[in-house]
Symmetry: C2
Subunit: 188 residues, 2 copies
């Protein structure tokens, strides 16, 4: 509980701030006594309220069945501090190894789902399956974020953005163009 | 034609390199004598072959009907050189103004679709609607990229990544972890 208190609650309608820029994420899942972590880059925000995220989980991944059967997951946001773990997790199979142990990551209980949070990540988004209509055809899952935990600092985490072939772009500088926006497109 | 020769063809299976990192894109569309440009950030790669991209076009946008009726679009990739244009396009409606004229952008004919390419963008991906099953429920379009044009340089463009509330993250440094990848996950 003390570790979890390092993060604050984020209104789920605001997860776009972290996911829309396209970071690689670590998806955790659990079902029937098994658990896993996978590296994922194919995801998009789909709605603010309800807070919907669409993503592709390739059917060959060990996580696919854990997520499909449990209908839950946690989307964890790593920063460059976890680059080796992101690469290692993406290049091993959960069918053969417990990735929490292998990569020395700390599972923490989630509030609304059975899948664990990864303590070392900047943010954790607890998700429940909202629509599985495109799973069979495209391996595409639509999740509702039901609980969001984020670290207080840094305000803009140095996330990893995959470009294929082993190459990542690291999140760079932040620029604000708030003054040029119509008020209706801004919150707060 | 001379202007178009500045870009080279990219195999459509490789568009993930440009879109997976989560850049803001400019979507162009055309139908019945009308054309438009919209700023879009909610998209994801869904498959390599066929080259599928899923994205959300809010139903209130002028582009929604142009895309839905024409079943085509072009996804154009701007860099920081077009920051003012990206913001301006996202804060005006194509129902009231021709955005090519207003923002001094150059339309170029596409090869496979009626929607125009934007010459000033780093890359242009011509798309045809592959699956419209989730349009009514989520405004979610699944496109197949049928032709891809990219500038030769720079190899890693400085793309814009939106975080909401008028704030963008700019693409930062590039790091390679190729040596830590399983060969099956690398191409070339």
């Amino acid at each position: 509980m003390t570790r979890r208190s390092e993060k604050i609650d984020l209104p789920v309608a605001k997860v776009r701030r972290y996911l829309e820029p396209g970071p690689i994420v670590l998806m955790t899942s659990a079902f029937g006594g098994a658990r896993n972590i996978m590296t994922m880059g194919w995801h998009t925000v789909m709605e603010f309220t309800p807070s919907l995220i669409g993503c592709v989980i390739a059917a060959g991944n060990h996580s696919f069945e854990l997520v499909r059967k449990s209908r839950e997951c946690v989307i964890n946001l790593p920063t460059t501090a976890l680059t080796d773990e992101v690469v290692g997790i993406g290049n091993t199979s959960g069918a053969e190894v417990d990735k929490f142990a292998k990569f020395a990551l700390t599972p923490q209980p989630a509030r609304r789902v059975a899948a664990p949070l990864i303590r070392e990540c900047h943010a954790n988004f607890e998700c429940k399956l909202a629509d599985g209509a495109l799973i069979d055809k495209y391996n595409f899952f639509i999740f509702e974020v039901v609980k969001a935990h984020v670290a207080r600092t840094p305000r803009h985490p140095r996330t990893l953005h995959y470009t294929g072939d082993g190459v990542f772009m690291v999140a760079g500088k932040i620029i604000s163009r708030r003054r040029q926006f119509r008020p209706a497109l801004l919150s707060e």
